[in-house]
């Protein structure tokens, strides 16, 4: 029943926000688009990327194509070999930061001739530089240990690295200014002929500009890339400024929340991707089954709110709202038990009321 409404009335072959099938009708991997988009798991999610990113401070990695992912990406052959490339990704919760990081990881894989990157995922606690570098070292060792003896000799190398680390940590653990540069050089020597996969450090939360720069200095010859995800614009900008004066190997990309017009473009793109081929829409309903009022209601300022800048929402939140409104409308139509053919299209549309309900339900859930 819901399939019929989607196809016959709304001219959609799939849920446009969490599609299950690709254009050819083959099932997509659900985890590749469940929360964020992950083309590493399923490259067919690339067309779902909507460019909400500010590339002004990223000359080497920029722009999104539905087929290639990032249009341009730093070529390791043109970069200084002794320094990892650092991506500073700025954005708040649900702003599309994880999807962007996955896009970068996909590109890293591509430039490494398809070798899967080995990702060291780190969440930093606090702003102590030495402590944060130590956390990175510990998690790097743990990640390598989890790889077992693949490639052969890695296990032995990791043991040596661990011993070197233990000695250095014993010596430096109370030194708040320690940079552990010696031990990281030793890591590089142990790994340089062993690990051919790109080693990527991904800082998913915490730290500050000083910590990130210190960490980059520590791992710049061990890791190929460092990805830092942060909601703090001042830290990101400062780290970018400070690194760009020393090396060109830095990019700062900002995930920008969507204004009303951008939100409509996003919805348009999602719907277009899932339109039944050859579908002819009523000229007044380009966003079928959504009415433009449904978008408008999401951008109404709250009572007593005085805003100087335009209201904007993170893309993840917007996707959830649109999905919830569509799903609720579909459920209510199915519950009414009227055959799709007997329904009047105009009575099935998603307008301001339905969207308001969806937003209210989301607010209650939070």
């Amino acid at each position: 029943m819901s399939e019929e409404i989607l196809r016959q009335l709304w001219k959609l072959r799939n849920d446009p926000f969490f599609p299950t099938l690709d254009a050819a009708g083959t099932a997509l991997r659900p985890d590749a688009l469940k929360r964020s988009l992950n083309p590493l798991l399923d490259a067919r999610v690339l067309p779902f990327y909507f460019d909400i990113y500010d590339w002004n401070f990223s000359t080497l990695a920029r722009d999104i194509s539905p087929t290639k992912g990032l249009v341009s990406f730093p070529d390791p052959r043109t970069q200084p070999s002794d320094s990892a490339f650092m991506f500073l990704l700025l954005g708040c919760r649900e702003s599309g930061l994880d999807s962007l990081a996955n896009l970068i990881l996909l590109k890293i894989k591509e430039v490494a001739s398809g070798l899967e990157p080995l990702i060291v995922e780190v969440e930093l606690a606090g702003r102590e530089k030495a402590k944060n570098v130590a956390t990175v070292a510990k998690l790097l060792l743990e990640t390598l240990r989890n790889e077992g003896d693949e490639p052969p000799g890695l296990e032995k190398a990791v043991k040596k690295m661990q011993a070197a680390w233990d000695r250095e940590y014993e010596r430096q653990q109370f030194n708040t200014n320690a940079d552990y540069s010696d031990v990281f050089q030793s890591f590089r020597n142990q790994l340089k002929d062993l690990i051919i996969r790109p080693l990527v450090l991904k800082i998913i939360a915490g730290g500050d500009n000083d910590s990130w720069v210190r960490i980059h200095n520590a791992v710049k010859r061990t890791c190929s890339h460092v990805i830092v995800m942060t909601p703090d614009i001042a830290y990101a900008k400062t780290a970018y400024n400070s690194m760009s004066t020393q090396t060109q190997n830095v990019a700062w990309i900002r995930a920008v929340p969507l204004t009303r017009d951008k939100a409509q473009q996003f919805l348009q793109q999602r719907l277009s991707n899932e339109r039944v081929s050859g579908a002819v829409l009523p000229p007044t309903r380009p966003l079928l089954p959504f009415l433009t009022e449904a978008i408008d209601v999401l951008y109404e300022p709250g009572s007593g709110e005085k805003r100087t800048e335009a209201l904007a929402h993170p893309v993840g939140w917007l996707r959830r709202m649109l999905y919830r409104a569509l799903r609720d409308r579909l459920d209510s139509l199915v519950a009414a038990g009227v055959a799709a053919a007997a329904l009047d299209l105009e009575t099935t549309l998603i307008g301001a009321e339905q969207m308001k309900q969806a937003a209210q339900l989301d607010a209650k859930r939070i």
Binding site: N209, D210, D232, I233, A234, Y235, K237, T238, N241, S242
Partner: protein, 300 residues
């Protein structure tokens, strides 16, 4: 006027009982001397206090004092009794008719300095002694004076008086304040000033030590993160980030309460220029870096 009860009358009565004996003399001395013959007549003065006090009011001048007393002569009546005062400037005397209610100041205006009473016998004659306020001495111990009663056929009789000026409470209060409270206040004030000075001095020293010890960190902060913060677009982001960083770098701890309030108010009001000026004042070593972070603000 205030009068002395009980013992205060004793010298006067003795003197009157024996007209030859001065009032200041003790009773013992008096009894040893020979009494005058009753035929000569004995002058008796009643109702005259030996101590006369003038109470200075809180405001304005003290009023004159009028002391009414009675004079009689026991024994042989005196055809003429001359009464005057000694050592009381501008004192006036007037014989009062019985039941007179004459106002004191009227007496002062019209009465003579000495009076003659005629045919004084055992019948009491009322006399008023008027003492203007300026006659009362300023000295704390008072001024000795006399009432002199002269009868033609006998030596003069003296009635000793002590004139005292009673200062008002507030004068005592002023003396007390000047003597006790003022030094205490001065001491407390100097303690407070010294403590504040010491605290400020210690604070300045610790701030200077902080600047010295963290010179590299501060230069790094003002040259980098501070600049990025000043460049933040929204006032909310600016205020939130700057307060967090000033706290984290220990900079807020170097400010005294007043400076801290001023800085916080400027940060929250998004007055970036004022914030820059406050920080330049506190961190002169970093003034160039702070100025660079405010290219359009023309900081001091």
């Amino acid at each position: 006027m205030s009068s002395r009860p009980a013992g205060a009358w004793t010298p006067g009565l003795l003197a009157l009982m024996c007209a030859w004996i001065p009032c200041a003399q003790s009773a013992e001395t008096a009894t040893k001397k020979s009494l005058p013959p009753l035929e000569q007549g004995v002058i008796v003065v009643t109702g005259l206090p030996s101590v006369i006090e003038s109470r200075v009011p809180y405001l304005g001048d003290a009023p004159p004092q009028c002391i009414d007393f009675s004079v009689s002569v026991i024994g042989k009546s005196a055809p003429e009794l001359h009464i005057t005062t000694v050592a009381v400037a501008n004192a006036r005397l007037r014989e009062l008719p019985s039941n007179s209610t004459e106002a004191c100041n009227i007496t002062g205006k019209s009465a003579p300095r000495s009076i003659f009473l005629h045919d004084v016998n055992a019948t009491e004659r009322r006399v008023r002694l008027f003492i203007p306020s300026e006659s009362f001495p300023r000295r704390a111990q008072g001024e000795a004076a006399k009432l002199l009663l002269v009868k033609l056929d006998s030596p003069p009789s003296e009635q000793a008086l002590l004139l005292l000026r009673q200062n008002p409470e507030w004068q005592n209060l002023i003396v007390w304040l000047a003597g006790v409270v003022a030094p205490l206040i001065a001491a407390a004030l100097s303690y407070v000033i010294k403590t504040a000075y010491d605290r400020r001095k210690a604070h300045n020293e610790s701030a200077e030590a902080f600047r010295r010890q963290h010179a590299t960190d501060l230069a790094d902060f003002f040259g980098n993160l501070y600049k990025s913060t000043v460049e933040l677009e929204t006032p909310d982001e600016y205020a939130k980030t700057l307060e967090r960083e000033l706290e984290a770098k220990g900079i807020l701890g170097t400010l005294d309460a007043g400076q801290l309030d001023r800085l916080r108010a400027a940060v929250r009001a998004n007055d970036r220029r004022l914030v820059g000026n406050i920080l330049i004042h506190k961190f002169p070593e970093n003034s160039e870096a702070i100025r660079r972070a405010h290219p359009g603000d023309r900081l001091r």
